[in-house]
């Protein structure tokens, strides 16, 4: 691991931009293309938004982001201690949303899956959700 970062903030929607900008700044030294950077920011934004509106909903809580760099690869872990996801396969379906009243498009998971190289979702009902995003920049074949 060549560098790491830990960020913790209350589950307020105004922190969504703070989260994605911080992660984008963290990977800047890897010299990502604008497209790669936008993809990573979008995936992080989706995960953090899910933690705030689905993990915690009306409840107050904390979202934690841990980032680590390995050569040309970044690993970003977004974690909440909220309600958890009962059926992860269902949540990953395109157009699925558990909160249609919020005008969610149901595309957040699909966007994350498309914009990073790998995504892992671990969740326990009543305990919270941890989303791990991994993205490699450039043509490097380095492995973690």
């Amino acid at each position: 691991m060549s560098n790491y970062l830990r960020l913790q903030f209350p589950s307020k929607s105004e922190n969504e931009s703070l989260a994605r900008i911080t992660v984008a700044s963290f990977v800047a030294n890897l010299d990502p293309t604008m497209e790669e950077l936008t993809e990573l920011k979008t995936a992080v934004s989706e995960a953090v938004t899910n933690a705030i509106i689905h993990g915690y909903g009306e409840q107050a809580g904390e979202v934690t982001i841990e980032c680590a760099l390995f050569d040309h690869t970044v690993k970003v872990v977004i974690e909440d201690k909220g309600v958890g996801i009962a059926d992860i396969d269902e949540a990953r379906q395109p157009m699925y949303t558990s909160r249609p009243e919020l005008e969610r498009s149901g595309m957040g998971m699909t966007i994350m899956e498309t914009f990073v190289d790998s995504i892992e979702i671990e969740s326990t009902v009543g305990e919270g959700t941890r989303v791990t995003l991994i993205k490699t920049f450039g043509m490097s074949n380095d492995v973690m």
Binding site: R20, T42, S45, T49, I53, S105, M107, T110
Partner: protein
């Protein structure tokens, strides 16, 4: 900071969005646009993305929600000045199958007027 600029052009409401379109911003923008749609007689809605610096799936929900409002009103809707990264999101979501995208506001307004 104003996130929405509005003007009327021959019965078409033209909304120019600014800044970063995430869940936080969308909540305020949605209420603003809905108010404009409720207070004005219109035949169509054009949303311009020229000044959008970032958008996630919250923006898709915003667009689809306004599409529903405009269709219920019997109006037409179009999008314009969509950059490459936004276009990728629109394609992924299937939005381009229901909403036309034009290169400029002018062409989008003309398309609605001619519809």
């Amino acid at each position: 900071m104003p996130l929405v600029e509005t003007r009327f052009e021959h019965g078409v409401l033209v909304i120019s969005l600014k800044g970063e379109l995430d869940h936080h911003a969308v909540e305020q923008i949605r209420d603003n646009i809905e108010r404009q749609l409720a207070e004005n007689h219109y035949r169509g809605l054009v949303i311009s993305f020229r000044n959008i610096e970032f958008m996630d799936s919250s923006g898709l929900g915003l667009i689809l929600g306004r599409y529903r409002t405009v269709r219920e009103h019997g109006g037409q809707m179009a999008l314009c000045e969509v950059g490459a990264s936004l276009r990728k999101l629109f394609e992924m979501s299937g939005l381009l199958k229901v909403l036309p995208v034009y290169d400029s506001e002018e062409v989008a307004v003309q398309a609605i007027q001619g519809a």
